[in-house]
């Protein structure tokens, strides 16, 4: 014990930066950029988690177990989703140049995208062929869930949502086909809408609704455009959300040829 000294005689503790970083003549190395980056990410994640409580949910989603034997057929659903996302992204770029106003502008703007806009033909091509790819994938995915019996208890609802998604996806194909407004797209759409009108009871009304009147007119295009880039994709995105929520909640099926072994079943029952 040092004798009590008057305050002004006591040694002052070193100031930060004086006498080494740790105050006793030693210095710890400053954090490396790598460590700083990890710290930074961790603190951002921590900040977000403290305010959203998202991490238990994310952890549950990411680290949930996928049953034994899950194979490549199980990637078809997410591949469909990525095809949809690709359609969404390329669609946004097309919407920057496409003009649905009147039939003449629609064709001219589609020609402008194809011939003048930088990479325009590539983006239009991706959107066009992406639709075919998405349709193929959605049918393959449906086939997988059908043959694996994945629509049975407890996943009935997910099948129903899936069928609605299928119909909506076909509607995207139908409404999008008209938009470039060349001969092909025009006449195919006229026929498709006329087919609708041959339906009993609601058929003619549906056709009138699609055409925005009894004839193809300038508003037909804007109507198809609104359905194609706003209403239907909005519904699809929402339903994909519900579909994936159910997948995460119920888990994906195990391949139907796998059975739990007797001994596991017994221990489970105790």
């Amino acid at each position: 014990m040092t004798p009590p000294l008057p305050k002004f005689l006591r040694p002052t503790p070193p100031r930060p930066g004086e006498n080494g970083r740790n105050g006793d003549g030693t210095t710890t190395a400053p954090p490396k950029p790598q460590e700083q980056a990890v710290e930074g990410v961790a603190s951002v994640v921590g900040w977000l988690d403290e305010r959203t409580g998202a991490s238990p949910f994310l952890r549950g989603f990411l680290y949930r177990k996928v049953p034994k034997g899950t194979n490549w057929f199980y990637t078809l659903g997410s591949a469909t989703m990525f095809a949809f996302l690709s359609q969404a992204v390329t669609g946004v770029f097309l919407a920057m140049y496409y003009e649905p106003d009147a039939p003449s502008r629609a064709y001219a703007s589609a020609a402008h995208i194809t011939n003048d806009v930088f990479l325009g033909e590539l983006v239009r091509g991706m959107h066009r062929w992406g639709s075919s790819v998405m349709i193929i994938l959605i049918f393959l995915h449906m086939g997988r869930t059908f043959f694996f019996g994945a629509y049975k208890y407890p996943r009935e609802l997910n099948w129903v949502i899936g069928v609605v998604l299928l119909v909506l996806t076909l509607m995207m194909g139908l409404t999008g086909y008209l938009l470039p407004f060349d001969q092909r797209s025009f006449w195919a759409t006229v026929v498709a809408v006329n087919l609708n009108s041959s339906g009993p009871v609601i058929g003619p009304y549906l056709a009138d609704f699609l055409r925005a009147g009894s004839e193809f007119g300038p508003t037909t295009i804007s109507r198809f455009y609104a359905l194609h880039m706003l209403a239907v994709p909005g519904l699809i995105a929402a339903l994909i959300g519900a579909h994936l929520y159910l997948v995460a909640k119920l888990g994906t099926t195990a391949p139907p040829w796998l059975k739990a072994e007797k001994k596991d079943l017994l221990t489970e029952e105790i």
């Binding site: 989603f61 990411l62 680290y63 177990k65 996928v66 049953p67 034994k68 034997g69 899950t70 990637t75 997410s78 591949a79 990525f82 095809a83 690709s86 064709y107 589609a110 020609a111 194809t114 011939n115 590539l122 239009r124 091509g125 991706m126 992406g130 075919s132 790819v133 994938l137 059908f146 043959f147 019996g149 629509y151 049975k152 208890y153 407890p154 099948w159 069928v163 076909l170 194909g173 470039p180 407004f181 060349d182 001969q183 092909r184 025009f186 006449w187 195919a188 006229v190 026929v191 609708n196 339906g199 009993p200 099926t253 195990a254 139907p256 796998l258 739990a260 079943l265 489970e268 029952e269």
Partner: protein, 238 residues
Amino acid sequence: MDRRQREQYLREYSILKGQGKPFFPYAIAKDGIMATITILVIILMAVLFGAELGPKADPTTTTYTPRPEWYFFFLFELLRVVKPPELVFLATIGIPTICLMLLLLLPFYDRGPERNPLRRPIATTAGIATIGAMTYLTVLGALAGSPTEIELATKPQYEEGKEITASAGCLGCHKIGENGNTLGPNLTEIGARLGRDAIARTLENPTAPMPSYANYRKTNPEQFDKLVQYVASLKGDE
């Protein structure tokens, strides 16, 4: 599935799930690979096949052969399979609606506990039969002859012009070789009668109902020239 079977299923499932691997990183890696392949295929197709744009829609040309996107062929072909007019509503609305309802309600009438496709003979047969029927109708639709394809052989220097002509929609009204429709004159030997200039003039100032391609000449002068050269080369001697 009765209550016992449902409980049995959930029990078995939880065991199989417990023996599995976590979604991250195992399943996600596969999904990621598949997603990458999907996007690459889309880009590749866009680069290879591009995005064609035919002539502008013209509501006055009533004979244009309508062609839907290929994935609607199976619906479209139903129309041709069903002939009697009083049954047409069956093909257009009836059969598709019934099929859709059967599809939508599948989990509610097929409730057996068995999931293995080999032990569900009815479901598996029905599934394969549906795929077979849809494939058959799609192929039928594809073979029905595309209005954007010319099979007639041509000299190599006109190949490109042939492609352009095929995709320009002329076949909607003209026959070239075995392809096309018969509203307008047959073009298979048109080059023997008309020279390049005459054809170009016809394209720019056609008599109704042929649409004018003057705009096309302005926007795509090179393609237009190749098209004219190809049409003028059709002399019926090949």
